[in-house]
C-alpha cells in the first residue's frame, strides 16, 4: 500500500465516521415516524455515508464528491443557524449562545468539510511538501469560493424566508 492510498483511506474513514455520527444524531433528534419531512436529513445522511465517499474514491468523480460534501456543510450550517436563531436562548448570555444553540453541531459539520478539502487537495496537489499553493483565493476549489457560496446561499435562503411567506 502506498502512503497516498493509506492517507486517503484514513481521511475517507474520518469522513464516513462523521457522516454515520451525524446520521445517528439526526435519527435520534427527529425520527421519520414523527414527521415525513425528516426524510431530508436521512437522504442527506445516506448521501454522506455512501455516495460522497464513493465519489471521493474515484479520481474522475472527486470534484463532484468535493462539491457535494461542501454544499452539504453549507446547507447544514444555514439550516442549523436558522434553527438556532428561531430558538435563541433567553437570556442570551455568551455561555448560552455557545452551549444552547447548534454552534457545536455546525462546528462538527465543518470538520467533515475540512476532511473533504484535505482529500481533494491531496489528490490534486499531490504529496510534494515543498510545492507552493497557487491560484486565486476566490476561485474554485479554494476557500474563497466556498465563502462566496456560503454567503450567497445564506442570502438567497433568507430572501426566500422573508419575501415568500
Amino acid at each position: 500500500m502506498t502512503i497516498k492510498t493509506y492517507t486517503k483511506t484514513t481521511l475517507l474513514f474520518g469522513l464516513v465516521a462523521l457522516s454515520i455520527g451525524g446520521f445517528f444524531l439526526h435519527l435520534r433528534i427527529h425520527p421519520i415516524a414523527k414527521n415525513p419531512a425528516n426524510i431530508v436529513p436521512v437522504v442527506s445522511g445516506v448521501l454522506g455515508i455512501v455516495i460522497v465517499p464513493l465519489l471521493f474514491s474515484s479520481r474522475r468523480l472527486i470534484s463532484y464528491g468535493y462539491v457535494i460534501n461542501g454544499m452539504q456543510a453549507i446547507i447544514g450550517t444555514v439550516l442549523m443557524a436558522h434553527y438556532s436563531i428561531a430558538h435563541w436562548p433567553a437570556p442570551a448570555t455568551p455561555a448560552a449562545m455557545i452551549l444552547q444553540t447548534l454552534l457545536a453541531d455546525i462546528l462538527v459539520l465543518w470538520g467533515k468539510f475540512f476532511l473533504g478539502k484535505a482529500l481533494f487537495d491531496l489528490e490534486f496537489h499531490g504529496y510534494d511538501q515543498t510545492r507552493e499553493m497557487k491560484g486565486k483565493t476566490y476561485r474554485y476549489p479554494n476557500y474563497g469560493w466556498w465563502l462566496i457560496h456560503l454567503a450567497t446561499i445564506s442570502l438567497v435562503y433568507c430572501l426566500g424566508h422573508i419575501l415568500w411567506r
Binding site: 470534484s63 439550516l79 474554485y140 446561499i153 438567497v156 435562503y157 430572501l159 415568500w164
Partner: protein, 31 residues
Amino acid sequence: MNQFRLFTPYWWILHVVAVVFFFWLGHIVHF
C-alpha cells in the same frame, strides 16, 4: 473541469436551479 468554468450553459442552468432551490427552501422551512 470544464463543467466548473464560469458562465457556460451548464453553469447558468446549475446556478438558476440552485437559486430557485434555496429560495424555495427558505420559504418552506419554519422552525
